[in-house]
Symmetry: C2
Subunit: 379 residues, 2 copies
C-alpha cells in the first residue's frame, strides 16, 4: 500500500553545547549533544503537519526511504511514504536517533570533552523523560511548536507516553504501540540477563573497550539472540522454523548449529554487532527498566486533567514481550483521568515484532487515527 520514498539523507544538528548543556533528570549535565535525524515530506506553512517517530531500543534515525543502496530500506519504511499510513504527501515526518544511542546522536560511544576519550560508563544515566527532552529540542529547532502526533512502538511508545505527560498541550495525538508504562519483573529479568552477558564478557573492560581492537561481541551477541526470542511469538517461531534442520534433512547431532532456529539467532546476533554499541545497549535497556510513567499520581493527574492530546493505544495479541495487559494498564490510567483514549488489540501472529511489519488492520488503524488528527488540525 502506497509507495516507498526515494533517497533520503541523515542530518545532524548540535542542540546543546558545553555552554548551554542539557540537564538530565539525574541532575547531570551533558554537552555537546548532537542529534542525527531524518525528515520525510514537507512541513506546511502552519507547521501543523509534523509527525514525530520515536524509535525502539535498537532503532535509528533512518526510518524510511534508502541511503546509498535502494534495496536497503529504513526500519519503518512500510508505514512511512506517499500514500502510506504516515502519508508523506501531506505529513512532515521526523525521526531522530535517541539520546544515548550509537547511530549519530550523542551516547556512551561519543567523545567526552572532559577527557578526549569515549564516555563509556562515565556517560550519565538517563530517563525516558531525558530522551523526550532532546526530541522536543529538535522539534523546537525545526520550528514545530505543536506536533500533529508522536508515534512509536515498544520503547518508542514509552517515549510518546512520557511526551504526552510532560507537555500536555503539545501533541495533537499520541500513538502508543505495544509499549508499557512500566516493565514487569519478567521484563526486567530478561534485561538483567542481557546486561550480565555483556558486562561479564572479559572484553567489556568496564565499558572502556573502544579502540582496543576488541569489544564485548560475544556478550552483546548473546544479549541480542535472547532479545530476539522475546520479539517473536512462539507461534511465529513454529511457523518460521519449527524443528527444521539447517541445510540438511537429518540432524547432524552435535553442538554446532543444526536447527534452523539456531542458525537464525546466530545470524541475528552476529549482524547486530556491526551496527550497535554494547554500552548503548546497557544504557537504553536500563532506561526501560526504570521507566514508571504513572509513578507519581499527582503528576499524572496534573498532566492528564488538562490534556488535549488524543491517545491511540495498540497491542498485538501474540506479543509476549509487552503483552496486552501492559497496554490495558496504560489505557486504564489514561481513561481514569478523563483523557480521550482509543484502545485496539490487533490480531497478529508475529509477536512483539508485529509493530515493524505490514499487518493490515494495524496499518489501517494508524492511518485512520492520523487522518482524523490531520483533518481536525487543519480546519
Amino acid at each position: 500500500m502506497g509507495a516507498s520514498l526515494g533517497r533520503v539523507e541523515t542530518q545532524r544538528v548540535v542542540l546543546f553545547t558545553a555552554e548551554r548543556p542539557l540537564t538530565l533528570d539525574s541532575g547531570a549535565t551533558l554537552g555537546p549533544v548532537e542529534v542525527a535525524f531524518e525528515t520525510y515530506g514537507t512541513l506546511d506553512e502552519d507547521r501543523a503537519n509534523a509527525v514525530f517517530v520515536c524509535h525502539a531500543l535498537t532503532g535509528d534515525a533512518h526510518a524510511a526511504g534508502h541511503h546509498d543502496d535502494p534495496s536497503r530500506k529504513g526500519w519503518w519504511d512500510t508505514i512511512i511514504g506517499p500514500g502510506r499510513p504516515l502519508d508523506t504527501d501531506r505529513l512532515f515526518v521526523v525521526c531522530a536517533n535517541l539520546l544515548g544511542g550509537c547511530q549519530g546522536t550523542t551516547g556512551p560511544s561519543s567523545i567526552d570533552p572532559a577527557t578526549g576519550r569515549p564516555y563509556g560508563l562515565r556517560f550519565p544515566l538517563m530517563t525516558v523523560r531525558d530522551l523526550v527532552r532532546v526530541h522536543r529540542a529538535l522539534t523546537a529547532h525545526l520550528g514545530i511548536e505543536r506536533p500533529l502526533a508522536a508515534i512509536g512502538g515498544s520503547l518508542g511508545g514509552m517515549q510518546v507516553l512520557q511526551w504526552a505527560l510532560d507537555a500536555p498541550d503539545e501533541l495533537g495525538a499520541a500513538l502508543i504501540i505495544c509499549a508499557s508504562s512500566r516493565l514487569s519483573a519478567q521484563n526486567i529479568a530478561f534485561s538483567a540477563v542481557a546486561r550480565e552477558s555483556i558486562m561479564g564478557d572479559p572484553d567489556f573492560r568496564g565499558g572502556d573497550y573502544y579502540g582496543n581492537g576488541s569489544a564485548p561481541d560475544r556478550g552483546l551477541s548473546v544479549a541480542r539472540m535472547l532479545a530476539h526470542i522475546t520479539y517473536l511469538s512462539e507461534e511465529s517461531m513454529r511457523r518460521k522454523f519449527g524443528r527444521r534442520i539447517q541445510d540438511a534433512d537429518v540432524p547432524r547431532f552435535g553442538f554446532d548449529v543444526d536447527f534452523q532456529v539456531e542458525s537464525y539467532l546466530q545470524y541475528q546476533g552476529a549482524a547486530f554487532l556491526k551496527r550497535f554499541d554494547a554500552n548503548s545497549y546497557l544504557y537504553l535497556s536500563r532506561v526501560m527498566d526504570y521507566f514508571d510513567a504513572f509513578a507519581d499520581p499527582a503528576v499524572t493527574t496534573r498532566a492528564l486533567e488538562r490534556t488535549a492530546t488524543r491517545f491511540l493505544v495498540m497491542s498485538f495479541d501474540s506479543d509476549w514481550r509487552f503483552d496486552t495487559s501492559h497496554s490495558r494498564e496504560i489505557v486504564r490510567t489514561l481513561a481514569a483521568h478523563g483523557a480521550q483514549v482509543t484502545f485496539r488489540e490487533i490480531e497478529s501472529p508475529y509477536g512483539h515484532d508485529s509493530f515493524l511489519l505490514q499487518v493490515p488492520e494495524y496499518h489501517r488503524t494508524v492511518a485512520g487515527f492520523l487522518d482524523r488528527a490531520f483533518r481536525e488540525r487543519s480546519r
Copy 2:
C-alpha cells in the same frame, strides 16, 4: 503431609565396564559407566513395589531425606517419604543421577580411560533412550524386573515416556509431568542461547577447562539465569519480586543489581556454579533438543498397541516452558494408539517449577494414581 526421611546415603555402582561397555544410539560405546543412586523404603519380597524417579536437567540422585546437614533436603523431598505421595512406608523409591550428569554418574567431567583426562567434548552425544538404558541397567542390578512406576518432571518426564515406549511390558505406571514429546522452536531457541553463552566464554577452551583453575563460569551463570526465567511464570515473578528494589526503598539508578529480581537471578546463577559442570549442561540440553519421542510412527504403534502401562500425564496451567499443549500432544498420541491415559492440567501459579513444589492438587493426583497402581499390582 507425611514426614521427611532421615539421613540417607548416595550409593555408587559400576554398571558397564570397558570390557562390557554401554552401546549408545549413536553407535559409540562407553565404559566404565558408574551410576550414583539413592533408594528410600524397602524393596518387598515380590520386588513389585519399586518406583523409579527420573530427574530433570540439573537434578541429581539425592531426591529425598538429607545427607550431613538435616536442614538441606533432597530436591523432591516434599513428595517422597513416609505418608507422602511416593510413600516410603510401602514403596521402594530409586533415584539415579543420569548419564552425562556431574553428580556421581559418568559424564563429560569423568576421566576418559583412553586418555587419562576428563572427556570434555570427546564424551559421546546421547539420546533420552541412552539415559533410559542406564536406568534399566540399574533396576536390573537391583533385581527389579518390572518397576511399579517411573515418574519424572520435565526432562525426567521425557525419560519416563521413552522408557514406556522402549519397554512396553516393563512399567506398571508412567507418570509424565510437565514434559514434552519434542521441543518447540522457542524451547530450542532458549537452549541455543544458553549454549552460545557457555561455549562463547573464553574460559570454555573447547570444553577442556578442567584443572585449569578457571571454568566458563560467566557463561554458565548467564545460561542458568536465563533458564530460571523460563522456570517461573510471569505471575509468580510478579508476586515474588514485582518491581521491588533490593535492600532499599528507592532505586540506586545504575548498572549494579538494583531490582530484587536481578538479585535473585544473580544468586541463582552463582549458586549453580558450585554444583554443576558446564559440559554436562551442554550435553543434557542437547539431549532435550533432539528428543522426538514419536518421530517414527511404526515404532510408536508397535510399542503402544501392546503396552500394559497406565499413563498419567500432567501439566501446570502457568507453565510456559512446556505449556499444556506439550502434554496434550503426548496424551493425543498415546490415546490414539489405545494406551490407557489419564490427563490432568493442574492450576498452579508457579510455572514450570510447580513440579518441584508442594501443590496440593498435584500431590493428591500423584498419590491417588500410585495408590491404585500399588493396590492392583499387589493383588
